[in-house]
Symmetry: C2
Subunit: 173 residues, 2 copies
Amino acid sequence: MVEDVVRTLGFLCLGSRLRRIGERLQADTQQIVDAAGLGIQAGQYPFLAAIDRAGPLTIGELAQSVGITQPGATRTIGQLLELGLVDMRPAPDDQRRRLVSLTDKGQELVNYSKTTIWPRVAAAVADLCGDLDGPILAQLATIEDGLAAAPLIRRGTTAASRVLSDAEQEEGR
Amino acid sequence: MVEDVVRTLGFLCLGSRLRRIGERLQADTQQIVDAAGLGIQAGQYPFLAAIDRAGPLTIGELAQSVGITQPGATRTIGQLLELGLVDMRPAPDDQRRRLVSLTDKGQELVNYSKTTIWPRVAAAVADLCGDLDGPILAQLATIEDGLAAAPLIRRGTTAASRVLSDAEQEEGR
DNA sequence: CTGAGATATATTACACGTTATATAACAATA
DNA sequence: TATTGTTATATAACGTGTAATATATCTCAG
């Protein structure tokens, strides 16, 4: 077996490692989403969730809200337009801004996801790392080992509804 | 100010969030590397470090070692070949395998980086999150806030040598 | 020793992030 | 009001990960 250098090098490779774990988590999440038969990418959800929470948002606000750059937001919103999940029209007061809102179809998808997929994913992730504590490198090692032992799709199918609100509290610090 | 949904949604978006932070860390690391005037990408370092630690490795072993897929390893090694930092030749016993080793130039770069850049980066990251403890979501929030307050390049220029060995111990659990 | 399957690497196409820059609309001042 | 600068979005080019597949080499059963 070969040494995992990214893991061995600790803080030096923390960036690579976070990215790597994040990609793995997203891929695992995609499996759960796909299993529900919705034709959507997991990475598109934060955009829908942002509009669902805050009401119609401009491209720039969406970019800020999901934490990526504006061209990335423009592209993803383009995809969601194609899928008929969102609608875009110029803001009435400023023709430069484009207000993006959920279509009925988009709102339905969000409502459905909120009751089924999202709690399921949150519960699986919580099962993976919800009770962890301690230095970050140790937690990451546990998460990596945990994912190797059992992917998200085989985790946490119970107590799902509890988890979302916990997450929000967490952030409220 | 717009709400950060990825942060708000907690475990549900942990994948996106880890990726986002990882990308940010890597971009910050690149600044430090660039400041040293070496014409190398931060993401290429793990490959060099892997060979430096284990001796010549095949493409497949490198992929495993760095934790990416084989096509990614093939591409990065291609770049390092272009840069003259590594050498590749078929394994003597199996013509399918390609053994990748450091050139003199590559070894020099590693030796130099080991004494200057790597401790610098590790120290900056340790300064950012070395003393953190507690649930992972809280730690991530602190890291995000910390990066916003002061990027890596403005962190941890002292006590650098200590950090690398600590990281290795950490992993030894 | 030959043909079938397995394995290692290379190639291709794609996903999704970035930076840099173009374009359109707004704001302000000479 | 015409010009000049700023702001919002779109587009282009690129980086670096992935999955799917082609190609070359090895292994082994018949």
